[in-house]
Amino acid sequence: MKPFDYQRAHGLDDAGQLLVADGAKPIAGGTNLLDLMKLEVETPTALVDVNRLPLGGITAHGEGLYIGALVSNCACAADPRIRSDYPVLARAILAGATFQLRNKATTGGNLCQRTRCYYFYDLSQTCNKRAPGTGCAAIGGFNRIHAILGASDTCIATYPGDMAVALSALDATVEIHDVKGDKRLVPVRDFHRLPGDTPERDNVLEPGDVITGVVLPAPAGGTQLYRKVRDRASYAFALVSVAAVIHVEDGKIAKARLAFGGLAHKPWHDARVEALLEGEAPSDALFDQAAALLLDEARGQGSNDFKIPLTRRTLKAVLREATGGTL
């Protein structure tokens, strides 16, 4: 690990000032960052410890909830309000990593976790995300875990997390404190970026920004599911995951909210698919249309071609289950 200055932030403004410096990075749980620092994929010159900032706790917020950025993944998934009113979020968090990691991992830090692309991790390989301008060894390489939607010629990495996929389905909002001391709100759906020609930027955070919390809107109700398809039954990243919030009224889908993990550089949300489903009676034919629309621009990279039919089948299975059908 490269040497770095360890700094402890005393207040949000202090954190912003420390983090605006070139080479500075915040550390909260550290489970992803320290892993990458040991490999020297990440080489910050200063680590700003934000753990003592007053960003804990889950509190009422209008009709919804406010989750402090330092609330651990375990604490969030164990909260009775999250488990009762936002089960898709509790299920998604519990689908990721292990209890040991989730005790340390925070709500803000988890949003910022980096890709698991093998070439991003391997310093001997080219990677536009790790070393901009060097190329992308994943294109034409081993790309079983890579993106089928929204990728670019410079990067086909995926966002690996589960929590943010559920937050996208729930249309949650990220609260950010900037270096000037102002607060801004960014929908989770807009927080992560597509790679384009700047894949080194995973999300819209600017230097000096600190995530302070996540706002959940009023409980969505309906049937909430999180299905994750992976290589092992536990402790593995998603090949494909689906977060779904579905309301059926009078035999028709009244409301559908869907987000997908494992498919793209961000949690994937496609409002066209929701619009196609809403107002219609559930049927396999309808679900086939929804999957076809979701995947109309999907493109495999060779070893991840299987993700296209896998996504179609997983979406159909989730929609059948959510609308009371048989699997």
């Binding site: 360890y6 489970t31 892993d35 375990c74 488990r83 519990l94 040991q100």
Partner: protein, 166 residues
């Protein structure tokens, strides 16, 4: 402020790069906690931080002044083993033993989590009360690998202690 480990205080005057794991083994001389992968994948370094299980390899020692850590040395001794330690011996819950301190610290915290009502990904109702089953134990212990493959006996040992506590 010092860090408290198994009830004793230690000063944290170390290179900021020092993981909590390396601090425990090298600076505090507590070598019961094991270094396996050093990347949070194997669970051999599992300890209790303020009562909750974590991977001690993936956190920096300097972040933990004022915190309380319990390692395997703090759970039991050869003369007065923790019930989980005794159960692992009774059920042959190991072969080489390298993962065992992490397994036992993890299992201790897991039983506390179930007592606190935390559900897991395999729980039927995420909002309900968790029921202990082999499937639950296997899911909740998935962060602790055993390359000897003693999983069946590890599950038996944990089940026995859980039933005795119930």
């Amino acid at each position: 402020m010092p860090i408290t480990i198994n009830g004793a205080e230690y000063e944290l005057d170390v290179d900021p790069r020092t993981s909590l794991l390396d601090f425990l083994r090298r600076d505090a001389g507590l070598t019961g906690t094991k270094k396996g992968c050093d990347h949070g994948q194997c669970g051999a370094c599992t300890v209790l931080l303020n009562g909750q299980r974590i991977n001690s390899c993936l956190t920096l020692a300097v972040m933990h002044d004022g915190d309380s850590v319990t390692t395997i040395e703090g759970l039991g001794t050869p003369d007065a083993p923790h019930p989980l330690q005794a159960a692992f011996v009774r059920h042959d819950g190991y072969q080489c033993g390298y993962c065992t301190p992490g397994q036992i610290c993890s299992a201790k915290a897991m039983l506390d989590e179930i007592a606190a009502g935390w559900t897991s990904f395999v729980s039927d109702d995420v909002a309900g009360t968790p029921k202990l089953s082999e499937e639950e134990i296997r899911e909740r212990m998935s962060g602790n690998l055993c390359r000897c493959g003693a999983y069946s006996n590890i599950v038996a040992a944990i089940s026995e202690v859980a039933e005795a506590q119930a």
